[in-house]
Symmetry: C2
Subunit: 555 residues, 2 copies
Amino acid sequence: MSHISKEISEVAHEMGLQQGDWIPYGIGKAKVRLEVAQQKPRSSGARYVLVTAINPTPLGEGKTTTAIGLAMGLCDMGQRAVVTLRQPSLGPVFGIKGGGTGGGKAQLEPMHDINLHLTGDAYAVAASHNLLAAFTDNHLFHGNELSLDPRSITWPRAMAISDRALRHVTVPGHNQVKGREAQFVITEASEVMAILALARDRSDLRQRLGRIFVGMTTSGKPVFAEDLRCAGAMEVLLQEALLPNLVQTSEGTPALVHAGPFGNIAHGNCSVLADEIALRHADYVVTEAGFGSDLGAEKFFNIKCRVSGLVPNAAVVVATLRALKLHGGGGTVKPGRPLPASLTDPNRQALEKGLDNLAQHIANIRTYGVPVVVAVNAFPEDSGDELEWVRTRALDLGAAGASVSTHFQEGGKGASDLAQTVIRVADQPVRYTPLYKDTDTIKGKIHAIATSMYGAGQVAYDPQAERDIERATQLGFSHLPICMAKTPLSLSHDPLLKGRPTGFTIPIKEVRILSGAGFLTAVCSGMQLMPGLPKVPAGEGISLDHETGEIRGLR
Amino acid sequence: MSHISKEISEVAHEMGLQQGDWIPYGIGKAKVRLEVAQQKPRSSGARYVLVTAINPTPLGEGKTTTAIGLAMGLCDMGQRAVVTLRQPSLGPVFGIKGGGTGGGKAQLEPMHDINLHLTGDAYAVAASHNLLAAFTDNHLFHGNELSLDPRSITWPRAMAISDRALRHVTVPGHNQVKGREAQFVITEASEVMAILALARDRSDLRQRLGRIFVGMTTSGKPVFAEDLRCAGAMEVLLQEALLPNLVQTSEGTPALVHAGPFGNIAHGNCSVLADEIALRHADYVVTEAGFGSDLGAEKFFNIKCRVSGLVPNAAVVVATLRALKLHGGGGTVKPGRPLPASLTDPNRQALEKGLDNLAQHIANIRTYGVPVVVAVNAFPEDSGDELEWVRTRALDLGAAGASVSTHFQEGGKGASDLAQTVIRVADQPVRYTPLYKDTDTIKGKIHAIATSMYGAGQVAYDPQAERDIERATQLGFSHLPICMAKTPLSLSHDPLLKGRPTGFTIPIKEVRILSGAGFLTAVCSGMQLMPGLPKVPAGEGISLDHETGEIRGLR
């Protein structure tokens, strides 16, 4: 019920969608039918631009804002642009970080709707996910014909809200079945969410759901969702959720919002179907991957591009002065507290040192054969000298282009230099190379990510992780790519290690089989797939103003 | 994505809604703005008709189908009719009973959408509910400033799916807080769902959320959602869910679907706001209460009417030959199996005996001063003689009117006799009297329901229930009405006691404080607020046909 610039019918029309191609969902929201993606050819010469970032402060560096600003800037240049983004999660909205719809003059509309329920996709994902959990425990209850070993069940339950208490619960036993531990993950970390994001069409969605690994029989055979006769109903629950959601930027640029965020504990990319639809209706498709090039972008290149066959023409790395200074030892950031002056005031020494972090991210992207544009996202209090100095240094560090961007304050106009740079760089030839081969071992793949992307010296495996890898290999899943679960706040696994650490050891506590999504999740020690709330959750400050009908405190 | 007869804009227009009064949500669904309820006066002389039933077989006796058929029949007579119903629950849809959108030629459209997600209200309710649970455990984790006693916490979590394993889980302890038991209820049994159904406006919704009882401090003071600073965010999550959903019957009659079913474990009535909106746009508003007059209708009269101030002009009691024969000892019904011939073939002896059950339901309704119409819902295999015999006997038993209705086979045309009877009877004067006074004690109220509505001799309380009643009384909640949790399959607490049992003892195992919803839930022994799935859940047979795009197996 928040503000919108244009009627959604106008946005759809400007994007080139016909009347029957989209379905209205409330004010300013629509779902796009999949036939649009399947029937029309891709725009010839359409450019596909990934937006990623350096390791952020806990406040975020405006990556979503930059993706939106860039799309608006491209439109200002007369280009047809569409931005594809992830649906925000209720966890951060009511927890620490707030919403995920950009900010300032570079936002998505209708902001509140998108931050809350959008069109209900995440709920449909959770219902589909939890139906399989209920079917699994029900199977145990009614005689356990499949001889499923209760202790082997790895399928968790999913919950829309950050709820620390649900990380490890015990469900009671019955008959001959002992009580056992059951986990909850936040919906965005659900394998079903990843399946929604990676499915190429309905038939692919259905097959992936059937391939979900649930656990093992007592005689050592894998049990899948298909064996529990649940995949058909799971697909029915996702029938509408599979359709990408059309909304708009604060300047009326078409935006497709689809699938979940959390590039730290999930793959954290927008859906393949949203990108495919966008590439049929734009000269430039700007898409965002969660957190830095060590997380969302790494997964974009090695998981999403493997599935979609799409190759980006350029990648934008977003950097801010405050984050670079943080990496250079200039101070610390605490959520909910004002930034220290050492991060906001000029501090060339910290900035210089922090550039090391940017250097790694530029190098990471270049590993894939894709040219890099650095976007220095300017805050009002930033020094113009420092902004320009970082821009120049980025070119020295291997960026094919670099621009200071003021879209937060000025909208698309503020991103015009960035847009021009992207247009120039995205014309360069790309020779896409994934980081590892399907045939590499599981440990080989994890090693490649840890050393090349993070700068680690080696990887250490807990006994559980060793057992997980052995089992995944025995079951024939070693060909799958890896989805790392790691903190976004450092290139390493340790959030306190800023800058560009080297030689550290990445500790892996477990490796989960997500055979429906088509990857293995390697979880670094200390990472949780269900976040907790802070002492004062953001939700405490969120309320409805009954006089105006406006939502207060939701950002 | 299922079939619809009319565009939803046409349905809205015919109902008298203006352009800005409603918001489209997908194909054939819309939300109606609350201003419609708040600004326009009620239609003068609008009649309010409740549809209830005798104790059903596990298959249901077509109460929803009859409510829909009656509304269509009234339209055929040139009356403006609106039917108000509850949103079906995913639990039964994927479990035993199937969907809740009527059947045959008396259905709601779009059927699949309504049975699955509708506009996401139930998910918003669960998110709002679970946010309070997360806030509560988070409060314990971060120092427990309120000195909340963990063992006293009664606020459960909510889940959209029937999942037996979640009835009693153990969440781990931390710091000085011990691990404790945590319950999950199905979303429809959530207090937040009841609050959505009973709220008179936004301000009332907000106040009710704040009044939710969570648990006690170690010094014996009650802790509410307001104390946990969660109610504002809970309201924001419900902002759109509070708007009733407009859909249509298979003949294009306007239907408002809002709030949850489950008249056994919840109050199980459609929302007050849906009824208020309908009463401003119709000559006849047909609303349905869950299960028999012992459950949904009892709660309609003693909970919903207390809040809304609305009084029905007539109540329709739906009866079927098969259910009456079941009550008369004619055979047993098992879900998923064909009915025995002793229930489908003529069996006057069983029918005669089973009439006792109908007699109690007629008497129950008359207790409230409301005239009764008996609708004998005809199945194709039913004997015409028997149908007519039951119709006549119903008049002897105190019904002000009785009709045989064939809406399942014939749509509104088949309900024309029923519609005429309702028109006649609803013109009679009503002298509404609730069953008990606010000032009666908790046990006094439970006794009144058990003896007058069920035919019980007495009520027995488990020690837990005794403690619960003592606490609720001490905390000043004894003025609240009672919401019983009892099997729908018998007038008693025992599903096997058919007909009209007398003299039995109703066993109460616990009494829950739902101070936000504004009632106390008295749970009979053996009742669960989270259903389990059967050995072969309906979900196993539900799938999407990729050729046609149709959903199979969802009824």
